[in-house]
């Protein structure tokens, strides 16, 4: 390709309220790890609340994570046995969706190690562009040295933590507050 003139990225527009039959028709995308994939199997339950604390029933949540060894699949669909690394679900009437996955491992790049985390790309009606956040796991030993948490103001780090469900085994809860005192930390890429 010889034409290397600089282009301007196409503008984003909202995903709107009607995306389900186009982008969320496959419930199989809620399963990131098959039952026989290596690792600690968990249910990752995400709930989304708006600025008045009302559940957001029309969000589209995409998650992308490393496997139990901390490796990301290097090609689409080419993850280790039973592991895709990618999930996509719409929230339900309660503003919730649940991914069947495994706890990711710590991600090493050179001398730097990131604590286990799940990357989130978030879209919904009322958002003119996607926003990004990260889900960490409360209590993980690597949290104190994670380089990304290190650039988040200490008083806001708790908004990035999933917590074990008190009632259900192997279930982690993560709440996305779009606004308010507990507004989740969102990242710009």
């Amino acid at each position: 390709m010889s034409d290397t003139a600089r282009r301007i990225a196409t503008s984003s527009q909202t995903v709107g309220p009607f995306f389900h039959f186009g982008l969320a028709a496959d419930p199989g995308l809620g399963r990131i790890a098959a039952p026989d994939a290596a690792g600690i199997h968990i249910q990752l339950r995400i709930r989304v609340l708006d600025g008045e604390g009302v559940p957001v029933p029309d969000a589209l949540i995409e998650v992308y994570q490393a496997d139990a060894d901390g490796d990301f699949p290097q090609q689409a669909g080419a993850g280790k046995h039973g592991f895709s690394g990618f999930g996509r679900l719409a929230t339900n009437a309660d503003g919730m969706c649940t991914f069947a996955t495994i706890k990711p491992g710590a991600v090493r790049s050179g001398a730097v190690e990131q604590a286990p985390h799940v990357n989130v790309c978030f879209l919904s009606r009322g958002l003119l562009r996607q926003i990004y956040t990260r889900i960490y796991f409360e209590g993980d030993a690597g949290l104190t040295t994670d380089p990304i948490l290190g650039i988040v103001p200490p008083e806001r780090r708790a908004t990035l933590m999933a917590r074990p469900s008190p009632a259900e085994a192997a279930t982690w809860d993560f709440v996305i507050h779009l606004q308010g005192e507990d507004e989740t930390v969102f990242f710009d890429l």
Binding site: M1, S11, S12, V15, F21, D50, S124, R125, L128
Partner: protein
């Protein structure tokens, strides 16, 4: 590495009160810039999303042909350096010719079409090209403000090569009289950027005695994902 941040005015803000749904949903605190060294940007995003043979022809997904004006929508997907983005998933969804989505929350009193779902997907070829056959969508009313109508549009979703290049947008049609009245279209400050969301009628894409062609080229972020010195 080139700083990847957007060109001023070419992307919509998070909070845009004329589009009312942004008011309680747009984050109010500043976003935190994520250093790209730590974001594993080179890795692919989507898992195995199978593409069926008819998935890029929305007029042949049922036993009969849908009502409305048959059109061809095609274009190229490029990165910010003008390089094609090959083998990337392009998904689209839209309402039917009467302005009605096949969706439970769409209560617009316009007819559903038993022969039209309105969703398609395809992969770009080695030159970044994609092509769909569909029906021209209708305009439809919404409750954002009194007498609010959306200009006819088709929703597009693309992944590109990384989390960074993810794009969800809407493609419009030339000369729509609703443009000045639509807060979603007008949420993009830069007029030229808005115009780039309008497809262009293309006689070369048009198939004689069969369907009009509209061209819509898409530029994904991603220039920064390859340092200059690594390029030939």
């Amino acid at each position: 590495m080139i700083d990847p941040r957007e060109v001023a005015g070419t992307q919509p803000p998070l909070l845009y009160p004329p589009y009312k749904s942004t008011v309680l949903r747009a984050p109010s605190k500043p976003l935190i810039q994520l250093p790209h060294d730590f974001t594993n940007l080179a890795a692919p995003l989507f898992g195995d999303l199978p593409i069926g043979p008819g998935d890029n022809d929305l007029t042949r997904q049922h036993t009969g042909e849908p009502q409305g004006e048959r059109i061809i929508v095609a274009g190229r997907v490029l990165d910010e350096d003008g390089r094609p983005v090959p083998n990337t998933l392009v998904e689209l969804w839209q309402c039917n010719a009467a302005g009605r989505y096949r969706h439970v929350v769409d209560d617009h009193p316009a007819p559903l079409d038993p022969h039209f779902t309105g969703a398609g997907r395809t992969m770009t070829d080695a030159e970044g090209r994609y092509r769909f056959v569909t029906i021209k969508p209708g305009a439809y009313p919404w409750r954002n403000h009194p007498n609010a109508w959306r200009p006819a549009h088709i929703h597009f979703s693309l992944f590109g090569t990384s989390f960074l290049s993810r794009l969800v947008t809407q493609m419009y049609f030339p000369n729509d009289p609703l443009f000045p009245h639509d807060p979603i279209f007008n949420s993009i400050p830069d007029e030229r950027a808005r115009r780039r969301l309008i497809s262009q009628f293309d006689l070369d894409l048009t198939e004689p005695l069969w369907a009009l062609g509209y061209r819509f080229d898409i530029i994904l972020r991603g220039r920064d994902s390859t340092p200059f010195e690594e390029r030939a």
